[in-house]
Symmetry: C3
Subunit: 350 residues, 3 copies
């Protein structure tokens, strides 16, 4: 009898154009929202306060964009990245509709690229994942690429196609998950900062100052909350036999912490409308302290909207190194403390 | 003045036939459900998704059976097992009605057996505990037996009766907590596995593959969530003076993790309808990694039900040892890595 | 361009009479309530059970008083105590209305005292903070004083005024957050103790027996849940360079644990109506075990209320030392194990 347990897909199991409907649908609740605050320290008023959200034009407080991302991402792991070695990058991520407590999220992915590595032991899988609500509303789509082991090194490569991906999300396509904002009702004091869209300029850099130490229990609880089952995060017995000897912290948890730290300087960046690209430059292990800084890459108005504008930000996170002097990359080389380089669009009141 | 603090009952404080109404009623909420997912990684679609639950015939997503068990169990600790040395076993556990977020659970126990140990320092208390909703609906009943210290070794034994307990729950009595399932609406893709009742055969064994490392903070948060106050789980100062030197992880947390791991192979075992017996073979301490495997002991149809069938499973959990080769017992001797041996009935769509 | 990040206020930034509207409003949910139970082990029936709360006269289960305190306190940190060295004390704390899941809390503070220390490097800020619901209802007010660094030692002191604070909250002003209690419906068995107001006498002392070990992940999750961003709690990189070398546990977490432990002996002290004074005698670091004992300082009826009476309690918490012999202070010297000395009013059914 064939086993009924899922060993996960290997590189040669994927096909170009393949569509995968992921298990398990997940209802997001006030419990998830509270845990997300407890695990990350997020303080953005839109997500923390029903009263604030209603005042500016949302029906109620929407779920944090990054929490939505993690839950949709979590759906995809059992099919895509159980045998992954590394999550290499993200692109073309756009949010399609606000998610509220009570919504049930599910996900579908399409394989859009496959490229065997020259060692023939691994390959890169490119996929576009889409998250939906119970009523079919698209809440999120994004491309990611991930290095996956082959089961059998001798197996033929299942394809050889690297998709061409734009370097950024087109700003005119942003804002679907943000209803019209009542700017007059937007209380900058309650939001935590007087700085609005007009106050930021391209090239400006912000040190987010604070540091956040991550514990094993914290990243495990967070990653399980998203029902992300990738083995490297939970199994110390197996990880103890790997080179690092440690459980690897889910890269998404680093994104959450960097976003939470960015409140100090970007408190009115109330909505992440899209992610242009992201790279986990180095792994994070428990016990380290995460710091972050951001740079304004660009700013733009959105067609037909006078309520909000879009800032293109780059947020860099480091471990065990404050960001007073903005540790960065030079060419392809990063400062050794850098662990995350994230390029994304936020919306801010004008 | 007599103290107003509760030192817990000792063996000689119990009487055969005694009925104990436990404090404190506990309303189960979406917060508990989220924390349970975060602490265990459970992925069963019925509990994770309102949409899935409604589609198959539940009014809304029921609370995980094992979470219900832990909350009812937690009520009993202050009266029964504050001075317990070890929780020895469970039997005759049946679920009586689905529990939903918003329900308030309370518990009553009857002492059904008492047996002093030959050392006269301890005795075994057998009790049947029953959990109720706010409206009196019985949601759970089970028998457990627990070794409790005597306050005074010279005190006479309060009784000498060992109840006769059937080795298994009668299958015809299962299913009260499972409404009629709309099998046509049961989406096996969304549930995470194509395998239904008909696909399993008695004798079949499944390695659940994944491992889950447990941290001190995790088991403490879980056990406090159930308001289980047994001292061995929380007090490192006192435990540091015991032989193990460590806080003992609540055995129920091991059951939760084993159940969550069993998703990989048993994703459609959506409901635990009864527990025939359970034994905590060895203690678990933080830092260890839990693995699990299961065996199908039996399978049966349920009288009058064509929607679901019952599998009798035995799930064995180990610490720091993968279950590829199904570590087991030989006679009364267990493989030294085994920590849990649980015999229970699950319902699956036919 | 001036930085947009908030370095926090320093001593010379405050002015006597200054009013500060704090960010960020925070909706309290069932998720927060569950996490609070999971992190503290609180068991008071009023907060744990909707059914119990409704039976005795609340519309629904109110949020734990100390959780309300922490959330209001958390609002104030970014403006007041980001650069604090130590939270020195509390006084004149009164609860004004019950808070329910779904309420959104915000906070305002007034600077009521300023006193430079003789070293001229630091000063003490006295403030009265008030927490409000979305509809303007006052839910809490309290005074605290905190030692804050100066940015520039040469800067002139911003004031020199120490407010006169009564040593206790006037009992006749207590009870606003407690509706009339239906004493006949108050079930002492379900609440966990037979002891009511009449059973306690001034001078009585209670050892709460149990100990609770605190993990880094636990206090970090708790403190982030309250969106309290004080740096000393989260940043091991920075703390590793301080004398203690450790992250300091938020003193409020110690209050929560002491209150939860006090259930054993004070289960019917269902509501904290006011806090007369509180002092964090020594810091707590992760890995230590907290114990607590209480003394009844006073008891009084409340004007016009025959349903409940007020006990004035002093709860002392220790680390790594059981409280069997009530470790205390002698004059100004505390037993070296003492970490908290809290003087407060609770309401109990008569």
């Amino acid at each position: 009898m064939a086993t009924k347990t899922n060993p996960g897909n290997f590189f040669e199991d994927f096909q170009l154009g393949q569509e995968i409907v992921h298990a398990v649908p997940r209802t997001v609740t006030a419990g998830d929202v509270a845990l997300y605050i407890g695990l990350t320290g997020s303080r953005f008023a839109l997500h923390a306060s029903e009263a604030f959200a209603r005042a500016i034009g949302y029906g109620k407080a929407p779920v944090d964009d990054i929490l939505v991302f993690h839950i949709v991402f979590g759906r995809t792991v059992a099919d895509i990245s159980l045998n992954a070695i590394a999550n290499l990058g993200y692109a073309q991520c756009r949010f399609g509709a606000p998610v509220y407590a009570g919504d049930t999220l599910s996900a579908v992915s399409e394989i859009i690229g496959l490229k065997e590595n020259s060692n023939r032991a691994t390959g890169i899988v490119y996929l576009r994942s889409t998250g939906f609500k119970q009523d079919g509303t698209r809440v999120l789509e994004y491309v990611r690429w991930v290095m996956v082991r082959k089961r059998d090194q001798a197996a033929p490569a299942p394809g050889d196609h690297v998709p061409r991906l734009p370097v950024a999300v087109e700003p005119s396509t942003l804002g679907d998950a943000c209803p019209p904002i009542n700017a007059a009702a937007y209380d900058f004091t309650l939001a935590g900062s007087p700085h609005r869209f007009a106050d930021y300029v391209a090239g400006e850099r912000l040190d987010h100052i604070d540091g956040m130490t991550v514990e094993e229990a914290e990243h495990q609880i967070a990653t399980r909350l998203y029902q992300n089952t990738a083995r490297v995060h939970f199994n110390q017995f197996a990880q103890g036999q790997e080179r690092s000897g440690r459980r690897l912290i889910y890269g998404g948890h680093v994104i959450s912490i960097a976003r939470a730290l960015s409140f100090n300087g970007l408190a009115n960046a109330f909505h992440i409308a899209g992610i242009n690209g992201g790279r986990h430059v180095a792994p994070l292990f428990a016990g380290s302290t995460v710091f972050a800084w951001s740079e304004v890459l660009d700013k733009t108005e959105l067609p037909g909207r006078s309520d909000v504008g879009a800032l293109r930000l780059r947020t860099v996170a480091t471990k065990d190194r404050p960001c007073t002097d903005f540790p960065d990359r030079t060419g392809d080389d990063y400062d050794p403390a850098v662990i995350l380089d994230l390029d994304y669009w936020v919306l801010m009141p004008r």
